[in-house]
Symmetry: C2
Subunit: 388 residues, 2 copies
Amino acid sequence: VSVTAPEGFVASGVHCGLRKNGRLDLSLVRSLAPATGTAMFTINRMLAAPVVVSREHLDLAEPQAVVTNSGVANAATGERGLLDARATAAETGRLLGLDAEEVLVLSTGVIGALLPLSNVIAGVREAAATLSDDGGADSAAAIMTTDTRPKEAVARGSGFAVGGMAKGSGMIHPQLATMLAVLTTDYPLEPGEALDFLRPAVDASFNAISVDGECSTNDAVVLLANGASGVGRTPASDEQFALCIRRVCGELAKQIVADGEGATVLAEIAVRGAATEVEARAIAERVATSPLVKTALYGHDANWGRIAAAAGSARVDGGFAQLDPGRLSIAIDGVAVLVDGRPSGHEPALTNGHCAIDIDLALGDGGATYLTSDLSYDYVRINAEYRS
Amino acid sequence: VSVTAPEGFVASGVHCGLRKNGRLDLSLVRSLAPATGTAMFTINRMLAAPVVVSREHLDLAEPQAVVTNSGVANAATGERGLLDARATAAETGRLLGLDAEEVLVLSTGVIGALLPLSNVIAGVREAAATLSDDGGADSAAAIMTTDTRPKEAVARGSGFAVGGMAKGSGMIHPQLATMLAVLTTDYPLEPGEALDFLRPAVDASFNAISVDGECSTNDAVVLLANGASGVGRTPASDEQFALCIRRVCGELAKQIVADGEGATVLAEIAVRGAATEVEARAIAERVATSPLVKTALYGHDANWGRIAAAAGSARVDGGFAQLDPGRLSIAIDGVAVLVDGRPSGHEPALTNGHCAIDIDLALGDGGATYLTSDLSYDYVRINAEYRS
C-alpha cells in the first residue's frame, strides 16, 4: 500500500544494478489522473544534481511522476551529473507519455560517484513496465540505503487517503537531511495549494528529527495530489486532510529515527519556557545532536549534566539561546532530576528503548519538540565502512 | 617543568579523593612574585560555579594563584556550588597569605554532582604544603580527567619563558569547551595587558580545535605573569613574547586533539577561498565536527563527498555559508579529489595517523584552519561508560 493507497496512483520498484545482491534500487511512482504537487528540498548549499533538476521542473510544470534511485546520490558530479538527472527524467517521461518537466528525479546514496546512466535507463524501462496499484511496497523498498526496513504510512479521511514512503537513517537532521519522502493523496487540491499543506506537516515532523546532526545534499519531500477520490472540499475536509498529511509525515519521521543507524534508544526531547520559539528549537536541536548526550543514552545513563551543558551551548543568530542556570529544570522519563537549577538527587533507570527528556527554562513561552536516537558502536561501524 | 619553567612559580598536585585509585586530582599553581593576569572562560550559558566565582575574583584583584580540582565539575550545583567554590578559594588564600579574590578556582569532571568540600579543603592544605618549583608535572597530572596523558609545553624567549599545562579530551571544541589551561610567564606585563596577548593566541589554538563539537560548562584558560625574569621590554621582546604564548597554546591544543577520546587520526582542515573569514571558520568547524566525516576518517576512507556535504551545510548568522558546488575543490593529503566541482577520480590512501583536508571555495579571501580527530568505537565506549 503506502503510496498506492490513494486512488489513481501506481508504483513499482526494481533492481538495476546500483545496489549489491539484487536489492531493489529504482522506484517509480505515478499518478494516473492529472495531479498537482510540490516538493521541499534540502537547504544544503552543495545541492545534488537531481535536486537542481527537480527544482527546475517544478517551476515549469505540475509533477505527475517521481523516479528515485538509491545507491548513488549523483551529488558533487558537476555538469555531467545534471545531464544524467535530465536524461533520467526525459526517458521516464517518454515512457509514461509525460513531458520531462512533469517528472521529478530523486537520488540517494554515495556522494561523488557518477550515476551509471545505462543501468538507470534500463531500470526506468523495467519500472515503467511493472507499474501497478499494489507496487507501493516494492517502491518503498527500492529507495532504501542503510535503512534496515522500509518506511510506509497511510492515513485515511472521509473518502480520501494520504499515503507515504520514506527512507533515511544516517544523516537525519532537520531541513530534510538525507531523507527522501514521497507522499500521495487522492484529495483534490488546486495548483499552488500543495505547499500550504506540506510545509507545516514537514516542519513538525521531518524537520524535528535528528540521528546525527548532518544535513545532506539530496533530501526531498514530494507531495502529489490527483483528486481521484472525487470528494468535495469543505473547510472541515481541508482540516481533516491537513491532519492526515501531518499524521503520515509524523509516522514516517518516527520510523526514520527508530531505524537510525545503530539506534537502540528513541529519545523525545521537549523544551518549554524558552525565551522564544526559535530559541526553544535551537536548544532542542543542540541537545538532540550532542554526541555526549547521545553516547550517554546508549549507555543507559540519565546524564542530565550533559543535557544541561548542551542546552547552555545552543546557538541562535547573534549569539546563544538564553538560559538561566538557576531557573533550569530537567525531567527524564518523568523523574525531576534538576529543579530550578538544583539537582534533586533522583535519577531514573533508563531500561527500555524510549526516553523522554523534558527541559523547562522558565524564561518565556517558547516550546519545541525533537526526536533523536542514541550514538552507538554500530553507528560508528556502519559509517566507517559505508563505502567499502 | 611546564608551569614551573618560568622564574618565580611553584606548583603541586595531590590526591584528595575525587578520582579513583589514588589518582592526583587537585592542582595548585602560585606565583611567588606579585603577578598580573587574566582568564578566558567558556561561553556556555550554563556556567559552572567556579567560572562564576573566578570571573568575580578577576574583577576585584590580580590573580596570584590557581587551584584546580578534577573529578567533579561543580556545574549545575546551584547556590551550594557557588559557596563551595568560594570556600575553596578562601581556604587557598588563607594558606598562601593571599586574599580570596587573588585566587582563581577551576573544576573539571562530572556535571551535577556536589563538590565533596572536606576532601577539597584537605587537598588544598596538602597542595599548599607541597608547593615546589619542580611541581609542574604533578600539577599537570592532577587536572586530567579522561585524558590519557598530561599536556605540558614550554617556550623560551631571550631571558624569559612561557610555561603551560592543559587538560581536555572529550567535549573539545572552540570557545574552550571542556578544556582547562594554565599558562605562566616571568615576562613583565602591566595590569590589564595580559588579555591582549592571550586572546589572539587562544583564538588561533584552543578555539580552533574540535574533538566532538561540544562546548562545556567549565572551560578556562588562565595566564599569570609575574615579571620575575627581570628582562627589559622592547617592541621586539613583546613580539617574541606573543610568539611564545602562541607557541605554547598551539602545542597544548595539538596535544589535546591527539589525545581526543578514542582518537586514532589527527586531521588538519584548511579552508580558503571562502566569501569571508567568518564563513571560512564556519565551514572548517562544520567539517571538523561532522560525525560522518569523523567516522570516515576512522575507517581510513577519503570520503570527500561527506566533506563537501558538511561544507555545504555550514551555518552563519542569517543563513548558510556561501558555497558554489561548481567551484568547489577538495584535496586530501595533497591529492586533488574534487576540482572545480568535478571528481578527479583519484583518492589518497589514508594509512597513517594524520590527514590534511584542504577545501578551496574559490569565492573570496576567507581562510581558516581547524584541528579535529576521528570518531571511533572508543569514543562511544568512553562516553557511554564515563559515569559508571
